[in-house]
């Protein structure tokens, strides 16, 4: 299955009630697959007139307590940022998917990771965070849908799956063995007011500054609680004296680079962040006491690099190797860079 198809199939199996979206390469298979399959299960698929409409439909359906999802790719996902900010403010659970292509602007439809800042720092206005999951395989494209819905409903917060054009388009084996995400009570949902409770409001508007600040502080508490959801994978770190840090597709390429580098006698490991927010900063701080340096591999000009540097806090040098514009580094490019760095460090 293609990554995009696995994600769509997982959405059905996880119990997604409604999908709103607008086609854009390289994620259109999600909409195509769901438009074909969802109606069989009595679920809703709506191709909206634009991404702006999609995200606002999502807001409405999520407010009514439905399990909802949308997907897009970079330029389309940018159009959704206002609505995402509103959903974060109104604390509405939803699953967002950005199959990252290279930018800025319309850019190209080849894979990119230039949306890291947008994904992890709050892409819209205001002071908010998304939980961000970064799949590196077709299997994870499926698995993170279940995890995403679970976390979104647990924290009443939008969750973003930040994928890329290659993971979306490639085919791999995928196993669907997870049960639907259990329904949890949503006493806040606007489903009609029964006599025994007061009216439910879904809003991001708190016009009194005192109230707004209280709301902000509550959101901050939530974001703090979300830190315990940090997830990452480590490859060959036990005896590593140099560390690669890479997520998604870059994580796969870096994994191969570790294999090649180890074969050449370099003690290199890899930390692959699975959650980009929360970021595995504690583990990176620990590893900074073990390794001589770190190298981030990204399909951008150095975005996650900043978070790694913050985590490491100057203890070891952190460098960046990136390709832009939809181009990809090869495992050999990475090993070559590693050899250069280690030679310089030893000299």
């Amino acid at each position: 299955m293609k990554g995009n198809e696995a994600l769509a199939e997982a959405a059905i199996r996880a119990g997604c009630d409604a999908y709103f979206g607008y086609p854009i390469t390289p994620q259109s298979e999600v909409l195509e697959y769901l438009a074909r399959e969802m109606p069989r299960y009595g679920r809703l698929v709506m191709q909206a007139e634009s991404e702006v409409a999609s995200i606002n439909m999502l807001y409405g359906a999520a407010g009514a307590g439905f399990r909802v999802m949308t997907s897009s790719s970079s330029p389309g996902f940018s159009l959704m940022q206002e609505g995402i900010s509103y959903m974060a403010g109104a604390e509405l659970p939803c699953l967002l998917v950005n199959v990252n292509r290279a930018g800025p602007g319309l850019g190209t439809i080849q894979p990119g990771q230039g949306d890291y800042f947008q994904a992890t720092k709050g892409g819209g206005h205001g002071d908010y965070r998304l939980l961000v999951l970064a799949p590196a395989s077709v299997q994870e494209m499926a698995d993170f849908v279940f995890l995403g819905f679970t976390l979104a409903e647990k924290y009443r917060n939008p969750v973003l799956i930040l994928s890329d054009g290659a993971i979306g388009q490639m085919m791999e084996k995928v196993v669907f063995d997870q049960a639907p995400v259990p329904d949890i009570p949503k006493p806040w949902a606007t489903v009609g007011k029964p006599a025994h409770r007061s009216r439910n409001y879904i809003t991001s508007l708190h016009i009194q500054p005192e109230q707004m600040e209280q709301h902000n502080l509550r959101l901050l508490e939530k974001y703090k609680a979300m830190q315990e959801e940090v997830r990452f994978e480590e490859i060959a770190t036990a005896d590593a004296d140099y560390l690669l840090v890479a997520y998604g597709l870059s994580g796969r390429i870096a994994h191969k680079a570790v294999d090649v580098a180890r074969h050449r006698g370099l003690r290199v490991g890899l930390l692959r962040p699975i959650t980009l927010y929360p970021f595995p900063e504690r583990r990176l701080a620990q590893l900074a006491r073990q390794v001589q340096g770190m190298l981030t591999i990204e399909l951008n000009s150095g975005q996650m690099l900043e978070d790694v540097r913050l985590a490491v806090n100057g203890r070891v040098p952190v460098r960046h190797l990136g390709r832009l514009g939809g181009m990809l580094p090869t495992p050999d490019d990475i090993v070559h860079e590693l050899e250069n760095i280690l030679e310089v460090q030893h000299a």
Partner: protein, 186 residues
């Protein structure tokens, strides 16, 4: 076993479906597989390629720069990928569409008159299956029976009446002796 394969040619030559067939067949045999297509402007520009990896172990990167086997179906693909085959690797090319093959002496290179044979069989579109048959013979990667099971998935149902023809084409490919060249890269 780890086999990293590139198939490259013009759009419409069955490049992507050939790679996908190998991936499905490998999966059927319980192997780890990945299939990474070129998409978008590359395809619209008239060239297509895909990287198929078949392995006994978990596949780290689905994208690699050097290949164990290359199936090259036009001259631009030959120009781009012929120098990216690992020593001891295999290069199969379609003699009808590649005018100037060139390769490293460390690579086994076989020209296959695949398009000509397919036209002889009455359907030029069988070319990719003839190439795949030749590959199956040279590299004992996947069984023919698994390829046939995979083809049922890859071919849309409206083409299932061509399954037998496809099987014949695979068998034609498997019978080709091919003449291995021993030229130096120019």
């Amino acid at each position: 076993m780890l086999e990293e394969i590139i198939v490259a040619g013009f759009g419409g030559q069955g490049v992507l479906s050939m790679g996908m067939t190998m991936a499905y067949a490998g999966m059927h045999e319980g192997k780890e597989v990945s299939w990474m297509p070129s998409y978008g402007p590359e395809m619209r520009g008239g060239t297509a390629n895909c990287i198929t990896i078949v392995s006994d172990h978990v596949i780290s990167s689905p994208i690699v720069a050097e290949f164990d086997t290359a199936v090259l179906l036009n001259q631009p693909s030959m120009d781009k990928f012929a120098t990216r085959i690992k020593p001891g690797g295999l290069l199969l090319y379609d003699e009808s569409n590649v005018q100037h093959p060139y390769y490293n002496a460390a690579v086994e290179c076989i020209g296959i008159p695949a398009t000509a044979l397919a036209i002889e069989m009455g359907n030029a579109r069988l070319m990719n299956m003839i190439m795949l048959g030749a590959l199956l013979k040279k590299r004992q990667l996947i069984r023919l029976s698994s390829i046939m099971i995979a083809l049922k998935k890859v071919l849309p149902e409206k083409y299932h009446h061509t399954l037998l023809q496809n099987e014949s084409a695979l068998r034609v490919g498997m019978k080709i002796e091919g003449h291995a060249h021993l030229l130096h890269q120019d």
